[in-house]
Symmetry: none
DNA sequence: TATGAATGAGTCTTCATTCAT
DNA sequence: CATGAATGAAGACTCATTCAT
């Protein structure tokens, strides 16, 4: 059953660079189209064309549609999730955690630009075609660690008591994904260049840490928040 | 050609309750399915079944797929957008504007629960099937009014200088839509009841206005922000 | 059953000009479209639109598709056929008969420009949708009269013996219909104005009576042919 | 994408007789049905059934309806047209040209009996579905060569001056196609066997060259016409 | 590995026709 | 007379999937 074979190098051939491996090319084509049109609208024919292969090859490598989605999640999204949430520890201050998560998400997305819109469409969204698959890879303990960190800070009077600790992870992920996914749209609407990644990072972190609050009001106690 | 007729009550008939009007029923079925599965995955057959009519009726009332989408945007989303952005005035303080917008969005969504996930999937998202149609209804002047309000507050040192005035509208809309769309998911993950609308409203407004900032740091100048 | 009613004037109404009678308008729209696109490609919707009525009216007046075709043949084509073949008598010389037939066809078509292409497509052609209906109205005796006239002329050595008397009626009708139907095409190809009806009449009659033969060869015995 | 592949024999396979090639079978079924019912009335299902294949195969080989028609014209009609008009040279006498064209048309049609009625319905006729496609393959220079040949003969007094040189090509093609297409009809009407191809050829050529003219009037100058 | 041929199920859409009003 | 609503059947076309080579 060749569907299980990872893209092992054929022996006797001088291992071509991975980008040219057929399986990788298919996965790349698929994720690109998923981001652009959504999973439901992406057909095997289109994927194959983009990878300059035949639809039959897709079945050869992935057996069927379901298993293609499995592969996308397992081999592409899961590692990203791990890299983002791995370092999270409950004992750290929420501001620090948030800063780290945002930064690692932005870094990870940098090399996988198809993620944000796919995440919005197929994970966050009701009926998203990847939701179930991705949820299985969400490190619930880490997510809870963030909640607890915030709850504790609130109890100590060191964090905005209006925030719901259970929701903060969603606000966080959603805000990043949403902004990354809509940069393009932003440029379209205002007919100008999209904001740089730095600007975006500053905007998001700023929003999460201080909201509309002007800088001068927090200087005094900055340490309690910025550590 | 009935495709142009709005669902005006026929005279001489004892105006059945609107829920039983075929056109309304179809529109309702369509939006419901759009939210649940996305536009691309929603077929005429499914819509018709849900409305207990035949697929041919869909063509009778909407001529084709494109015009069904037109109707959804024109007759359902556009009014919502108007109700949300209509009262926005540049001279108001950003905090006040944001509070109003969030509140009106949540109120509007209350009676149109299909909106958030559709908005995320089909408007915010690259390649969203409603994006172009909806953008035409976005009141750019109002959006700019919000930007200017924030920019002015920043210039006066009364608002977080890290925020990008051009992005704040996206953060705002996106945050609300995203949270509304993921309540369901939230409950799924943590295996508990979804947070109430009030909790959500408090969380979102709190996040936007103060971020993580603890309450005590802002008491002194509360007026400058809360007016 | 109103489908049987011919367009009899309603009593008590000051007989509007026939062109505005709904049934006539439908018949006119139908024949126009039959000529332009063929019977098979012409739908009830199109006919109704052209007549500025609803498809349901077509069923009111003609009951169904078959009976619409019946009406076209019975009320429009049959009278034309009668007017063309009525005066044909076996005792006349073939040249005279042909001259008369061609002239009457051209005259009849003048006011029913939809006839030639419909005739070619739906009568002469195998599988034509009007063939059976029209054939019932072809005056076989008159057609045979023409054959006999030619056969006798051949026997007397007064007509081209290579012609098949049984085919001459087809050559005749076909040539006229074909040329009338292709005037438009002719203009398209050579990118110029279509030939006048007189030019066409002269060409067709000339071809049928003398073929390529130069004029001088027949002068001497012109009487035997032109009577 | 097999739609571009011509039906080249696959190597290594003992080249089955061409009749069993799927693409050929489909083309054959299509042309047969076009002749019998017209293009508009011929559905993919019918064609596929006749070729003992599925409708999906039609899309596999021809992509869509338009390209099926393209293929019919390009691969079947165009070669016929070339074979008929290829040898035409302006310096030859019109009688000679006509004799050649008629003969080559009849010979070509012999093996493609679907051509005449299709030609009448879909090429000569206004709104014919193949008209545009076929016109692109009409060798206008050759058609003009025939016109000029006739015009010159007329100028020398060697041809019927009543004929319109611009129309003669139409009379010629039309007469042949029309008669070939109506043989069947002829037999139906007179309830007898259809005339042989020789009889038909003699009739048409005779009509074109001499019309009704009796033989004796042309003996003297036969050479000028028959060369 | 790779692909061309083949197909059944399903999609949107159109159409003739019916019927209540 | 006239029409809007409704529908079943059928049309072109697409797609995931299979299979022999």
């Amino acid at each position: 059953m060749p569907a299980q074979l990872k893209s092992a190098r054929r022996p006797g051939r001088p291992a071509a660079s991975p980008e040219f491996d057929a399986r990788d090319r298919l996965l790349k084509a698929a994720t690109g189209l998923f981001a652009a049109q959504g999973v439901a609208a992406t057909t095997f024919v289109t994927i194959a064309q983009r990878a300059q292969l035949t639809p039959a090859m897709l079945h050869y490598y992935f057996r069927n549609r379901e298993q293609l989605l499995d592969a996308v999640v397992e081999e592409r999204l899961a590692p990203l999730i791990r890299s983002v949430w791995g370092p999270v520890e409950a004992r750290e201050a929420p501001a620090e955690l948030i800063r780290g998560i945002v930064q690692r998400m932005l870094a990870g997305i940098e090399r996988m630009s198809w993620v944000p819109s796919t995440w919005m469409r197929e994970v966050l969204n009701e009926g998203g075609l990847l939701r179930g698959r991705v949820l299985r890879h969400l490190p619930l303990d880490k997510v809870r660690a963030l909640s607890q960190s915030l709850a504790r800070a609130q109890a100590r009077g060191e964090a905005n008591p209006e925030l719901d600790p259970g929701l903060i992870a969603f606000s966080l992920i959603g805000l990043v994904m949403m902004h990354m996914a809509t940069i393009q749209l932003w440029a379209e609407i205002f007919d100008c260049k999209a904001p740089s990644r730095e600007a975006l990072s500053r905007h998001i972190t700023g929003l999460l840490l201080h909201g509309l609050e002007p800088a001068r009001h927090r200087k005094r106690n900055a340490t309690s928040i910025r550590k």
